[in-house]
Symmetry: C2
Subunit: 189 residues, 2 copies
DNA sequence: CGCCGAGTTGAACTGAATCAAGAAACGTGG
DNA sequence: CCACGTTTCTTGATTCAGTTCAACTCGGCG
């Protein structure tokens, strides 16, 4: 739990009361490798702070095509935000790619944090700003770069992904097939 | 300015003091059709609430390829958020597709609103949640749909775009050429 | 009128998908 | 620790969605 407050206090000062209040709402959860944390169609009830472990967010469309949307690592959050924020069914799955430990905060408790702490909304705003910026950058990459450029950008921006995630998932994250990624990698080496 | 407070009060209650404080920081701006509101490489100093008018956000890469990233309409905001929030150079342009009137809030004044009003952070958080959700949906569309599906989704979700924006811009928003869009449209009619 | 940008249509081309098969890595049970 | 089966990754051949290049139509505006 310390790692969560380390992130929090790097963004905002927090008094002891708020800290105790928030701490009381975080529930630890140990997760086995391969666990599906959230199913497509279910409502996301939690956002989890990752103490350790790696998660993959992915979606499957009507034709059975699967795409990876996000990989999340320690000291960041796991959870389907679109579903969590609106409390409507999720369009994506979340699975644990490794065993993991997270600290979960339920939607109801999140609302209490927003209502009863002085820091909640500011912290929430700044977190949302950060995830927004990442999504906006991804939109631009998908629209303006070809497969090779997107791959090069990924290994520049997030080399830890390459070291920890199977290539087939990286391929679908980049919007290409594993075969195409294999050829891109062959080409640049 | 009423339309801005209408949106604000639809999300959060606001007292007279805060309202007056925020109102004092909004500066009106009349904009001619074709005006470039923001240049690639410049830092976005304002976020603007659109009283009327239509704007296009677009980016141009090294190869001269231009893509439209966002169209914004009345009762919503115009401004390059990634640049505004980080106060770093923008990767995109904003142009007025029509004449327009907006209410501008500078970055410095925005910080004052966050620091000195009780509603600022909550309103900011909820706005960021909304723009995040839109971007996440767009990411999914770009990764999971082909050109025709993206077009059909656009006219379903945002028919006003089709009615107000030249097809060449819609094409690049969808990530395709005007020729490809023309063929998609021919195909579905 | 004539010009100019937007939109359409056609033909050739290309980046990436698909289909298919083999090689390498991985996990599991003996 | 090895053997076997399974999954991941690679490579080749073919196909296809969308690009590029080029020409033409249309509508608005000087």
């Amino acid at each position: 739990m310390e790692s969560f407050f380390k992130l929090l206090t790097s963004i905002i000062e927090i008094n002891e009361t708020d800290r105790t209040f928030i701490a009381s709402m975080l529930k630890p959860k140990e997760i086995e490798k391969g666990t599906i944390l959230l199913n497509q169609g279910d409502v996301e009830k939690y956002v989890g702070f990752i103490e350790n472990g790696i998660f993959r967010h992915y979606s499957i469309n009507q034709n059975g095509k699967e795409v990876s949307l996000l990989f999340t690592f320690e000291n960041w959050f796991v959870g389907e935000l679109s579903s969590f924020l609106t409390q409507t069914p999720s369009y994506c799955f979340i699975e644990a790619l490794t065993e993991a430990k997270i600290w979960q905060l339920s939607y109801d408790n999140m609302q209490k944090v927003y209502a009863h702490t002085t820091v909640g909304n500011k912290f929430g705003r700044i977190m949302m700003e950060q995830v927004y910026i990442r999504k906006a950058e991804r939109e631009r990459n998908l629209l303006m770069m070809n497969a090779e450029e997107r791959y090069l950008d990924l290994i520049r921006q997030a080399p830890h992904i390459l070291q920890n995630i199977p290539l087939k998932y990286i391929a679908s994250y980049l919007g290409i097939t594993p075969q195409a990624l294999s050829r891109v990698r062959k080409n640049i080496n």
